[in-house]
């Protein structure tokens, strides 16, 4: 099996074995949210918003990510009944976020992000934009973990917990993705 195929398989079919406190509370939170508890919904939102943000960021322009995060959570709330495994909220939300990103490109007129010199003071600098573009050009297998690690600041274990993958597969993808990113950015030390 080729390296990339193996990585993909690890990425797609891996299951996390670590049960965190968050996981244990998931079922309760989901059930409370199902009963219309806004407080429980807020808890889920605060726990998973960075994950959804990172996944969306790896696919759609930064300026539209914030609105899409809100849309993803509203869609999740409406479809909470379709969540079969109450302990897999993260993977479920990640799937909704990916679908929304695909839908975004189906309905959205083509647009480009503003050049750095035209952007407002809250927007990243040119170098950051260049790194961002380099990450986005990577395969999805590497793109998502790198976004969640470098931008949202999650560790490999946290990524694995939230996305429902094994921490081993996340580590492998982070390592390989970082190598490819270094090559793209021309950073010294990248393996040939």
């Amino acid at each position: 099996m080729a390296e990339s195929e193996m990585t993909q398989e690890l990425f797609l079919y891996g299951k996390t074995t670590a049960a965190t406190a968050l996981d244990q509370d998931q079922r309760t939170m989901v059930e409370r949210t199902s009963n219309g508890d806004q407080q429980a919904f807020e808890t889920i939102y605060r726990s998973y918003a960075p994950l959804v943000h990172g996944i969306l960021l790896s696919r759609v322009p930064y300026d539209d990510v914030h609105d899409l995060v809100q849309e993803v959570f509203l869609a999740a709330y409406k479809n909470l009944g379709s969540l079969r495994d109450k302990n897999a909220v993260g993977a479920w939300l990640a799937r909704i976020a990916r679908n929304h990103a695909a839908e975004y490109y189906r309905r959205k007129r083509p647009s480009q992000e503003l050049p750095d010199e035209l952007k407002g003071r809250h927007n990243p600098r040119a170098e950051a934009a260049e790194i961002m573009a380099a990450i986005r050009s990577l395969k999805e297998t590497y793109r998502e973990p790198l976004m969640l690690r470098l931008i949202e600041g999650m560790t490999a274990n946290e990524i694995a917990d939230r996305t429902g993958r094994t921490s081993e597969s996340v580590r492998v993808n982070l390592h390989r993705g970082m190598e490819k990113l270094r090559k793209k950015l021309g950073i010294a030390g990248a393996k040939k």
Binding site: Q38, V69, Q70, Y77, K78, I151, G153, A156, V170, H175
Partner: protein
């Protein structure tokens, strides 16, 4: 690159830290939680139960089967009944669709019948009929035009005289032709006695 820092954020890696700092502008900024519209919030979220789904699928399948059986029976009866009462479609006299099949029981159902018969006499060709049963099932027939019986010929006095004169002329002409033929044959026998007449 130190893998520990990349995976667990333990230790230091200046290069990755620099990337993190640069990309921090993109980091998620905590915002207010979206307020779920009251219309949605008050909606009871009911998880579909397995038996409900099974029942729904079963019901849908039964309905589908019933429709299939019904359509089958309908077609069965259609075949038996459609030939008994065909109706001709002939919207204009020029339309080459002019006659009904042999199975037509009466002409009551035929539309525009005089134009149809006229067209038949003019063409004397097999014509195509498009028939529609009362249940709207389209059928196409090819039928040959029935023969038209000739009326008895009645001649006037002048016509009878002209006819007798013509017959007389034909008889005289044929006699003369016979004499000419015999003369030629005898001449041939004289000039060539070995030749046999094969006629």
């Amino acid at each position: 690159m130190k893998e520990d820092y990349l995976s667990n954020k333990t230790g230091t890696d200046p290069e990755i830290e620099r990337l993190e700092n640069l990309l921090s502008a993109y980091r998620y900024q905590e915002t207010d939680v979206p307020l779920v519209p009251s219309k949605i919030r008050n909606m009871v979220i009911v998880e579909p139960k397995r038996w409900t789904l099974s029942f729904s699928f079963g019901l849908a399948f039964a309905a589908f089967a019933a429709v299939v059986v019904g359509v089958g029976i309908w077609f069965l009866f259609m075949d038996n009944s459609s030939d008994s009462s065909p109706v001709l479609i002939a919207k204009s006299p020029n339309q080459p669709v002019v006659t009904g099949p042999i199975k037509l029981a009466s002409t009551e159902n035929i539309v525009n019948l005089p134009a149809i018969v006229k067209t038949q006499k003019a063409t004397q060709q097999p014509v195509m009929a498009v028939l529609r049963s009362k249940r709207s099932k389209l059928r196409i027939y090819i039928a040959r035009v029935p023969e038209v019986k000739k009326a008895p010929v009645v001649l006037s006095k002048e016509e009878r005289y002209a006819y007798s004169q013509l017959m007389l002329a034909l008889a005289i002409t044929s006699e003369k032709l016979k004499v000419v033929g015999d003369t030629i044959n005898r001449t041939d026998e004289r000039t060539n006695p070995n030749r046999t007449n094969n006629r």
